[in-house]
């Protein structure tokens, strides 16, 4: 072995070395074998005035390239915290365990510099409130050009031309005139299109959208969701959509995670989750939803009690205290993940099928 190694000319060895280094960068050929995103046993603990609080517990999921995945749950369930963990933007002092691999590359151990190179380049982000995501002091053309200049090193002129192309892609009317517009001159829906254009600028592999349409009117919401769906399909991007709206999920994503008190309680293909409603919490969410066509005065089914304090979670199932089916075993230990169908799991000892 040493003989063979020494027989390789030094210059050649150097070359191999440097090409190996570039090959490990994102979007290279060998990485195709890995899933786009693989999260394994992710737990996050935040320091608070009342001591450390675990806000994510053992979250695991996988996304293939071009797959659309939704995370649904109520305030404080950990859906936004999951997104922040993916981007390496967790609050100061957060302790992370478990693994997040994007294109086969571990993210939890990357330093800030490496994460900066990743955010906006491989991961595009769309947030809830477009007015706060945009800088009111810069024209939208300049804001779209920023990631292009930073990550792709384009010249000012080339970045501006590319920004125009992106604005046309997100179907902003009169894109050419709008390049020099300020955020306050646009409507909410138009601003969200600009934010999407920024997210798409560097052709990311993963688009992370955290409640992207919650601040918009219903008709605009539909347009923006359709736009996101088209762009994701056209570019083969993975979409991770975070929302509290079951209807939005039904229309936009193929796989769904339901989160409660920091854990994934149900996961599976969206259609199957909606049909089986295997976890009692998912069933409760469905029943509580006002639907068009309900007669006036209809009383909605509610989930009794309220979300437990994350600092004082019971040792067993976090939902047990509010669950009509709970039995002593539920409070004793966290329920295991039960398979209820192909690729469909629920963290419940009595996973059910809706009648």
């Amino acid at each position: 072995m040493p003989d063979i190694a020494s027989s390789v000319p030094i210059s050649r060895a150097k070359e191999t070395c440097s090409s190996a280094a570039t090959a490990s960068s994102p979007a290279s050929e060998p990485a195709q074998a890995d899933p786009l995103l693989e999260v394994r046993g992710l737990s996050v603990t935040l320091p608070t005035a009342r001591g450390p609080v675990q806000v994510l517990r053992d979250v695991s999921f996988t996304m293939a390239r071009g797959q659309t995945l939704g995370i649904i749950g109520e305030s404080g369930c950990g859906k936004s915290m999951t997104a922040l963990a993916l981007m390496g933007l967790l609050p100061e002092g957060a302790q992370v365990s478990g693994s997040i691999r994007l294109d086969g590359r571990e993210l939890t151990t990357l330093d800030e510099r490496a994460l900066c190179a990743l955010r906006g380049a491989r991961i595009g982000m769309v947030f809830q409130e477009p007015m706060t995501a945009l800088n009111p002091l810069h024209t939208i053309g300049r804001q779209i050009a920023e990631p292009l200049r930073l990550h792709r090193g384009l010249s000012a002129a080339a970045a501006r031309a590319e920004a125009l192309r992106l604005l046309e892609r997100v179907q902003l009317p009169q894109a050419a005139q709008r390049l020099d517009a300020w955020p306050h001159q646009l409507s909410g829906g138009q601003r969200q299109r600009v934010v999407i254009a920024i997210a798409l600028a560097c052709g990311p592999g993963l688009l992370l959208a955290d409640e992207p349409t919650t601040a918009l009117d219903v008709t605009i919401q539909r347009e923006v969701l359709e736009l996101i769906g088209e762009l994701v399909a056209a570019d083969g991007m993975g979409l991770l959509l975070i929302s509290h709206d079951l209807g939005v999920m039904a229309q936009t994503v193929r796989r769904l995670l339901v989160m409660y008190a920091g854990s994934v309680v149900e996961s599976g293909p969206t259609a199957d989750v909606f049909r089986r409603l295997a976890h009692p919490y998912t069933r409760g969410l469905f029943a509580a939803r006002p639907r068009l066509g309900l007669a006036r005065g209809t009383r909605l089914a509610t989930i009794p009690g309220r979300v437990p304090d994350l600092a004082e979670l019971p040792p067993g199932c976090a939902f047990a205290g509010r669950c009509a089916l709970a039995e002593p075993a539920c409070a004793a230990a966290p329920p295991p993940l039960a398979e209820v169908g192909a690729g469909h799991h629920a963290r419940c000892i009595k996973p059910g099928v809706a009648p």
């Binding site: 039904a250 259609a271 509580a288 068009l292 066509g293 309900l294 006036r296 005065g297 209809t298 509610t302």
Partner: protein
Amino acid sequence: MTDAPLLAVEHVSKQYRLPRERLFAAPPVVPALDDVSFTLQAGRSLGIVGESGSGKSTLARLVMALEAPSSGHVRLDGQDLHRLEPAALRQARTRVQMVFQDPYGSLDPRRTVGQTVAEPLALLQGAPRDEQQRRAAQALEAVGLRAADLAKYPHEFSGGQRQRIAIARALITRPRLIVADEPVSALDVSVQAQVLNLMQDLRDEFGLSYLFISHDLSVISLVCDEVVVLQGGRIVEQGPPARLFTQPQHAYTQRLLAAVPGMEPPTRPAAGAAA
């Protein structure tokens, strides 16, 4: 007076003046409401639907007499709210109260729940202190909280509980009309259901009427006897929710309905059937 509807909005228009653009030109105006009329009988509830900028919240401000209409009248029990003397308006205000969208923004963080809930009584009726506290306790119990919560501060409550406190504050003057501007849109699904159920219980118990402003058609159909669809400050369609939402006549109502996300799976081809 007995024949008069609880609330009558008659040909109400409201224009807002924008800042002057040129020195010698008249300042531009935005028509926020344009010739809006409807009536609401006691005990019934009316929903106002429309998108941002359609004039929903302007309408609420006019009904609350927080602003005066440019033309037209708002009558409560036959009294024109905007023609009343200040003392009479104060009296009229005990009959109409408001619940706002954001339960985090509408409660003063530095005042106890008891102070907040009793404030309308203190201001409008000058009731003695012990009477105020007794009624505040009643109001809290009516919305499913405890009298002991009077001494607590808003930060000790969840979003749904805060909205209950806001409703208790509205109830304390024993109003006949509650103007609710997007009262559940900031709440989580399961909490939203609790608050909607509560609002229906209170209506049945106290014979309240709601002027219920929302962009969510399914919420409106649950609470209201009649719906008004606003677009660009005009009423484009009006009727009972059952008819309006099954056979919408106006193109705008149809567009609103089509945009409501349903539970059908994604329509994109790749997303097909149960895989």
